[in-house]
Symmetry: C2
Subunit: 233 residues, 2 copies
């Protein structure tokens, strides 16, 4: 079967979201210390990580919780210092991997349809694509909030294929997460490529459904995968 | 009476918030047009201004309203393009007036206590001070949300004076708004200085309570005002 389309996850696939998150949290704590919070940097980061884990990443009051955790009263000055540092760092690190744009350009030149399949809030995911400068690269962007289902629901991958006018077997899914990207795409018969990067890198396939067809460590290696597939056919 | 302290409003007093807002809205509309919204720039800006007027500036869905206004369906891509442009522009224009920092430094050198008296959400106002790089300049920052009353409530100015350990008559209030800054400070016996800048510049005192003691067109002219006051005493 000839490959016609390639789909990508965004976070930790098109850009380094693990590094972004780590740096944003570190700089948040540093700024709060600078603003008067008397704690050690590392204990602050540990506490913040636990709070995000507990309340979820879309909760709006992580830093208020953090102050409470260390016995501080509400302090808008310290919270604001953290927020400014957090957002500045998030934006500063919202840049594609060095090989993202060259690889996507090459894939377009080769005639592949390109798409995004991502979980999250639609406006937020579009914000990422726009800040990454990638908003014009994709023929189709499927975001969970807009269609009401999330990865690994196979329906999401089917919708993506239909929208780009190919069969699932004619498409490749590239992502970092076995539980989200690989499992879902495997189920509909897409070829799957795991990008070994970020905090989900160490998760290991527990059964054949979770096995990616290919493993790459840089996005540009997708070009090698395509050659490999051609050779096999 | 010897002047001991000087209080400042933030918006359109320490930085050019009128220019910031105008530019942020213009760039929002430009980015939305670039992302596919087919309208004229000027009609878009006019509509956005009316929407902010109608729903208030802290409403979270101005751009959704804008799309609806022009007969478009929800479109996270276009909304995200607007949001990115809005925030980038807001941050880019969050810089002090050229004479803000030199003037504040000079006033500190001269031994005056410095304070901020501002309406708004505490974290947001602190964010402004931090991004302006002014967070360490003030001995006291009074924000309406934290004390539960807003300008021109005289109590707010009394609290500010008490916190900086001076009598209201020993303090000067500098702001751009007659209805908020001048009226409130006049009532507690502070000397009042209107900075003629921004969108409230054309409002005219309607009675003696609304008359500022001094009018300046640049922040550095506060130094002339102080000389004038010394001469009179």
């Amino acid at each position: 079967m000839k490959i016609k389309a390639i789909f990508f996850d965004i976070d930790d696939t098109l850009y380094d979201s693990t590094l972004q998150t780590d740096m944003a949290r570190r700089n948040t704590i540093r700024a709060m210390i600078e603003a008067g919070l008397e704690i050690e940097e590392d204990e602050g980061i540990k506490a913040l990580n636990e709070i995000v884990e507990k309340f979820g990443s879309n909760y709006g009051y992580h830093l208020n919780e953090l102050l409470r955790e260390f016995g501080y009263e509400e302090n808008p000055r310290i919270i604001a210092a953290g927020i400014v540092a957090y957002h500045s760092t998030k934006i500063a690190y919202l840049v594609p991997f060095p090989d993202t744009i060259p690889t996507l350009l090459k894939l377009r030149d080769l005639g592949y349809g390109l798409g995004v399949i991502t979980d999250g809030i639609a406006v937020k995911q579009w914000e990422k694509l726009i800040r990454l400068g990638l908003q014009h690269f994709f023929d189709s962007v499927i975001i969970s909030e807009e269609i009401g289902i999330e990865k690994p629901n196979p329906e999401m991958f089917k919708i993506a294929a239909r929208k780009i006018k190919c069969k699932p077997e004619e498409a490749i899914m590239v992502g970092d997460r076995i539980d989200k990207d690989i499992v879902g795409a495997n189920k509909v018969g897409m070829l799957t490529v795991q990008l070994m990067h970020g905090k989900h890198m160490d998760e290991i396939p527990k059964n054949p459904d979770e096995e990616p067809d290919y493993i790459i460590s840089n996005l540009r290696d997708i070009l090698k995968v395509l050659k490999e597939i051609k050779k096999r056919n």
